[in-house]
Amino acid sequence: MSKPIIATASLAGCFGCHMSLLDIDERILKLIELVEFNKSPIDDIKTFTKECDIGLIEGGCCNTENIEVLKDFRKNCKILISVGECAIMGGLPAMRNGIPVKECLDEAYLDGLTVGENKEKIMPNDEELPIITDKVYPLHEIVKVDYYLPGCPPKADLLWEAVVALVTGKELDIPYELVKFD
């Protein structure tokens, strides 16, 4: 039987959730025995080459590219999991929610204390750049999400237990200490 296939992505996240996945330490050897990785920053595969069983996504959606990648994951993964606070509720990037985008951009490129010289008042607007969304969206407000793993980042043991339970079909009984929002 072929191994279950996992894909991962970081949208508006800090890569901390991916780091937490690496924090499973030597169990990573067991993990590659259990599963195969497809599109993911971990193996640097950039586009889906086959249909995947599990998609793990960290980070919410803060721009049009995030939304595209998310929809691509939904299309190519049987099970989609929101990993971490950013994916579940926007996380720290969502602290801008409620502030008009123009105000945020002005602060970042014109008025902020750490802005250097910008006499021509240039705002990055190259057409290659994704467009920033009006607010940062939790993943499940854009596509259907099957499971949620909270934490910032979710504890390595939680990620491990959840992935193992999914690929082995074992029931997941999460100990109290593993579910935290920070």
């Binding site: 579940i88 926007g90 996380g91 409620g98 909270p150 109290y176």
Partner: protein, 235 residues
């Protein structure tokens, strides 16, 4: 006639004195009924509804119910009530802006503790992302309005020697927010500022110049669910 009342909560026999509030009697008998707005000894507000139990098949808030002969068998930990409470927790999470990873109260917060207890993985309601301000005018206190859950504990409990409240609600409905009396708060003592922080169930009232005192792993709800102390007190 004796004023001792006998009744049961989820089948467990409990005793208390007539007129005592159900939530307090339950705690004395080792039964945890979650609270967010209640504080023992302070006139109940009944504002958060998290302590909802079922008495004679009716929903009642346990922090406002004085016990008497008619209590019968009270329901507390049924799947139905647990789901109602979980829904309340989820509602409070989406109504405010609760960025736990960036909150000083994280680990010691009662709202978050209830989120853990009921294993809230994601709220069933959409996030409101309503913007509220942070009031940092007092030299001793930060008032982070994004995290207030409107329990009124601060309003009811934190007063000066003349009985004037340091805190008050402003606005109504959607615009309701907690506010601090600027003049009074300018001179609030260290002790009272600390007390305000301690009684606030969430991270809305924070004392300035201290922070993150308890390391991760040693905070109130890191290892044991909220209410464990009460449940363990009588076994």
């Amino acid at each position: 006639m004796s004023d001792t009342i006998k009744f049961t909560i989820d089948g467990k026999e409990c005793t208390g004195k007539k007129g005592q509030l159900l939530v307090d009697v339950a705690a004395e008998n080792g039964v945890y009924i979650p609270v967010l707005c209640h504080w023992k000894g302070v006139k109940p507000a009944g504002s958060c509804r998290i302590c909802t139990v079922k008495v004679n098949n009716r929903y009642v808030t346990a922090c406002t119910l004085p016990i008497d002969e008619n209590c019968g068998d009270i329901e507390n930990n049924t799947p139905e009530l647990q789901d109602i409470r979980k829904a309340i927790v989820e509602m409070l999470f989406v109504e405010g802006n609760h960025f736990c990873p960036a909150c000083e109260k994280s680990g010691d917060c009662d709202l978050q503790g209830l989120g853990y207890k009921y294993q809230m993985m994601v709220p069933r309601f959409p996030y409101a992302f309503e913007r509220r301000e942070l009031d940092a005018k007092s030299p001793k206190i930060f008032l982070e309005k994004n995290r207030c859950i409107f329990c009124k504990r601060c309003i009811r409990m934190i007063k000066d020697e003349k009985g004037r409240s340091y805190f008050a609600f402003k606005g109504r409905g959607k615009t309701l927010e907690i506010s601090m009396d600027e003049k009074l708060a300018a001179n609030i003592s260290d002790e009272l500022a600390q007390e305000a922080m301690d009684i606030c169930p969430v991270g809305a009232i924070l004392k300035k110049e201290v922070g993150f005192v308890n390391p991760i792993g040693k905070r109130k709800y890191d290892n044991e669910p909220i209410g464990s102390d009460i449940e363990k007190s009588q076994q």
